[in-house]
Symmetry: C2
Subunit: 769 residues, 2 copies
Amino acid sequence: MKDYIIHDEWNIIEEGFVPELNRVSESIFSLGNGRMGQRANFEEQYSGDSLQGNYIAGVYYPDKTRVGWWKNGYPEYFAKVLNASNWIGINIWIDGIALDLAKAKVSDFKRVLNMKEGYLERSFTATLENGNQVEVKSTRFCSIVDDQTGAIEYSIKAKNFSAPIKIEPFIDFDVVNEDSNYDEKFWNALDQSASNGRAWVKASTKKTNFVVCSAMSYSIIHQGKELTLNSELVEKEKYASNIIESVIKEGETLTVYKYAANISSQNHDENKLVEVAEDEISKISTKGFANLKKEQAEAWKSKWTEADIVIKGDVAAQQGIRFNIFQLYQTYTGEDPRLNIGPKGFTGEKYGGSTYWDTEAYCLPFYMSTADSHVARNLLVYRYNHLQKAIENAEKLGFTNGAALYPMVTMNGEECHNEWEITFEEIHRNGAIAYAIYDYARYTGDQAYLAEYGLEVLIGISRFWAQRVNWSEAKQKYVMLGVTGPNEYENNVNNNWYTNYIASWTMKYTLDALDYVKVNHSSDYDRVLNKVNFDLDSETGKWNDVIDKMYFPYDEEKEVYLQQDGFLDKVLMPVDELDGEDRPINQNWSWDRILRSCFIKQADVLQGLYFFEDDFSIDEIKRNFEFYEPMTVHESSLSPCVHSILASKLGMEEKAYEMYLRTARLDLDDYNNDTEDGCHTTSMAGTWMAVIKGFGGMVIKDGKLHLNPFLPSKWEGYSFKINFRDIVLKVDITKDNVEITNESENDLSLILKGEDTLISGKGKKELAT
Amino acid sequence: MKDYIIHDEWNIIEEGFVPELNRVSESIFSLGNGRMGQRANFEEQYSGDSLQGNYIAGVYYPDKTRVGWWKNGYPEYFAKVLNASNWIGINIWIDGIALDLAKAKVSDFKRVLNMKEGYLERSFTATLENGNQVEVKSTRFCSIVDDQTGAIEYSIKAKNFSAPIKIEPFIDFDVVNEDSNYDEKFWNALDQSASNGRAWVKASTKKTNFVVCSAMSYSIIHQGKELTLNSELVEKEKYASNIIESVIKEGETLTVYKYAANISSQNHDENKLVEVAEDEISKISTKGFANLKKEQAEAWKSKWTEADIVIKGDVAAQQGIRFNIFQLYQTYTGEDPRLNIGPKGFTGEKYGGSTYWDTEAYCLPFYMSTADSHVARNLLVYRYNHLQKAIENAEKLGFTNGAALYPMVTMNGEECHNEWEITFEEIHRNGAIAYAIYDYARYTGDQAYLAEYGLEVLIGISRFWAQRVNWSEAKQKYVMLGVTGPNEYENNVNNNWYTNYIASWTMKYTLDALDYVKVNHSSDYDRVLNKVNFDLDSETGKWNDVIDKMYFPYDEEKEVYLQQDGFLDKVLMPVDELDGEDRPINQNWSWDRILRSCFIKQADVLQGLYFFEDDFSIDEIKRNFEFYEPMTVHESSLSPCVHSILASKLGMEEKAYEMYLRTARLDLDDYNNDTEDGCHTTSMAGTWMAVIKGFGGMVIKDGKLHLNPFLPSKWEGYSFKINFRDIVLKVDITKDNVEITNESENDLSLILKGEDTLISGKGKKELAT
């Protein structure tokens, strides 16, 4: 845990340059716009420790992982988030000496991530080896208005000298991934060009053959006047730049405006990439930096209007929650159904891939409540578009007849993770994809989605479950052998309660969906059943049989659901009794010891009680919570939020707040000592859920919104907005009362603290707390 | 399955050149002498498909396998058997055209592995592109008399031409491993030298830094006269040769005698390797090829005198069993306790490492019965010497107080396999190492071994078991969670019956050993207990408690031991009911499907019933055999032999013979379609066991040899020898009688077909069958 980020309501602030923290800050101060993003690397060269990272959504590399032992059905690769061109680079030499913060004496260093307006600012004074002192200020952003572009303002002031200055804005595709298994570079050079004031480089990825053209233009202002010097043109393989030589006098300021575009063959004709890039560059450079920055601020303002959470009386909490919301919107905007939400967003290489069940279980509720419903719909359509690949994935494992197993990790629908105990066995993810359809339809009321897309996916998933169980003669029940539950500290267990439950639930929901679509969308019903070659009687008959006779491990004495068969053979002990030096166990214990212990990585039985809370009594939820939570080490960033929500529901305010704290500033305070690898982007949605679903008590039942808010005692008040079926509600909780404002024209009937409540359009409702 | 090896009692014969079979033949016709070995590659260059392989015992490379996901406690590397210098190479050019069987027209091709005398012969006629025809015959061997050397006789006859001939005998260290994870070469060049008639190359392995000098000398005889031409000397990095130019006339023969030595820093001062190599070369070239070949034949004769099995009335079976015995003695001679028996011997790269539990469970009985007892003792001392590493290995996993976990695969005592489900969990191997001590002491009567070495190892292993179990409150028993049994088609199961049984047995045997050593070797007792810091009361108290309260899964209804908890939840079906196209399942099914199926790779519960047969009634063994064997796919080469032995014991002759057939010609007939990777060397000892322990009914009980032989109905008779406590017995079984000959001076009292029988020194006993 670290504590160097300065608390502020709207800004993330670092003061002073500590090279040892540079990687952590590079993660925290990351920028993105859903289409591209980057770590907070420096513009000028830096020879110190750094993880260089510029990423373009959807551009990945399938790095081979086949070493040593291999088994049938393993994917051939692990998809890596690709470090793409460095488009921010501006090398500076003063009197022949490179400006390099690893070599200069640095003072007044400050980094500010302005979340309100969506830009990164950095300023410092550097004293070079020869004593020359410069004051530098840079401002940059990835535009969310024109998401293929970015812009930089980089100004240098000569404090105590007059000397020649050399400036080299560049595009560099000769980059590496730190996690390359074979120390390979992943980009092939295609072409490059440098002309006066402009440069571009075109490269393609190995194997996947994505083609990207990164282009730049720049202007240099010296004492208010644009320099029109000739520049030296540099072209090398995967590299293009201009080198401009000038002279800077004591007290003078020289400012570089650099405009860049990253144009990918995913979105444009491969042969027109250079043309498009040049057009984009012309467009944004014509607008100019100040106008672009203003547009950016306005665009972010409208996002905040929809999604902001205000916390009163706790600046750290306020900063934390805004940081989470900001990073989520930097990562995914929902405009492109081919894209998804990588666990680290655009902030690092780790975990590869882009899509985990995190999307369905954690991110979907955030986007449903804070954005237009097409955003959440696009997240679902993403999986619909991968259905055929999910069927192929299941076929590789031996399943038949259209059974679909969605991948654990994917870029394009193919499985790209390859630990057998995860890839083959952590199949509960399939259930989360079905649950997301239910959750979406429940929240938005968009039942038509079932007819258009949802039913087909549900049938594929239910077919998988029906084949994945087997009849146990010994138990006279259907059992599910060889699975890994959400608690990945158990592998290859039998009858994981959560997996059995969500499997059975999926089949029930699919039967409901069949009925609904048959009655309400009969032509879709015929179309889908025909398309998937559905044998109604035998398939639904089998599903009903499995639903009736599914085995759920349960202990009669303790009256708890068992995480899996044999769980009670373990030595059960609370996490509290562990030595501090054993924690986190995933850094201190062998895998063998972890597997055999009772300790739980993240909600497992409790994930089921969270998803399906209406199926269980409060007493049941409480008994299970009190049995499992004390054995939970929360070593997944996805763990504390679910526990926080359940604790809120159970009235365990202290536990709810403790769990909330573990997620809210996870990255800002580098809680798990791993922020240097990147931020925990998907878990940020969990933090949002802990506020809205936990403290705010938001649930949807029978088509109705329920709110049951309470105020954590550490706070003076908080407020949030939710977008529920085109109605924007503002919820404001203080020590004294709850105020709900209906910002829309239409009336809304909801259940507020258990009471049927009508809030008319543009109306307001107050309730004492 | 293939059927191209010509049946012969003493020779392995291939006729006709089929390039597609070349890799298979390279494996089958391999040579070795326990210290070095090689695949049957060609001397002259060959541009066709081939797996080049020359191996030096104990010389390995730790190839890194760290890609993607990693877990604490994983070994950093997987040890690879290293392809070492090519010392057989003799390039030939005739009239400027290289002799290369991939480019010439080949006729009369024949390979013969003479097992009786221990050499490989190859002859062929090749018609080169220009019509020149040569007749070639090569003979070579790895000397078992001087195990650092080898010799080749290579003669070429000009059939239909007279032309210039160029001959290049060489040493080449610029070799690769096909299984290199990162396409690296594993040898660093050190030095090389070529002089007239001689050459050597010295190289060292990366990381492990073994230094090896390979040297050669040669002479060339032309029409009976030694050529004394000057040669061109070639020296390149990792390569040295002589090129000799001469002229060969129609009908003439030119013969190259090449002598080679491979001298390793494992056995010699690193700075004297060249000197030693040159001495060796001088020594053997002075002796000359004919004398060396004669020595070789004599040495093999004495091995066969001890170890031969004669089968009458079945040439294929005769060839098969001799091939197995021959390969075992080519792989391991027992002279160096640092060496062990790799699963592929010197016949290929696959499986890496040198030592698996195969050694203790399969190879030890072979060497105990066919060689002097110091050979078997050396196999045990090998593990004793690794005890400290086994303790470190256990510490990495979190065990304490001298608990020892022997590695699954090792070269030097360190674990060098890295699948968690094997490395961390397939811990029954630890039991096999304890069992081998028991087996050795039981067979040889050398109880003193316990005092000197054995007890210390047993204490380390028992300490491991005592920590590895845990108390189950639910079962009120000790359980063992998260293991992989011998049946590797199950991973991470709870309470594998075999593992629980051998763990409990180890603790019992260790308690017995403590008592024995205390009474009979009291100073050793004090020395060992002091050395390992033994807390007698608390440690033996714990062991007794675990022995008393160990949980053994059992089904009351079926009256069988359960392979593991939950085994009966599977869909149970016999292998017979599988489609042919599903077999072998490890090539046709996903790992997921294999894990969830009931199908068993190799003896698991039955391995325990084989090891501890005296603990169980014949009925019990039969019930379990009849339950498990039908579900066993025998996809480990180690599987059929154990089943054959048990079936013999149960009087199921047909099953016993069927299982025997699956091992006896496994490689000769390429039964599993994988002989191209190398031979299944360790399972060859299992084949031997199937004859001696199965058909011969050999067991040791209470210090007495029992024999209970029967004659498989397909055979006319068979005979074998066993060395039991310095007495050599010849056992001869025909249709009519069993004849036992005591070839030693001392009397032997044994149990023959259940009857106490005394056979006096040099005496004989006959019994009607």
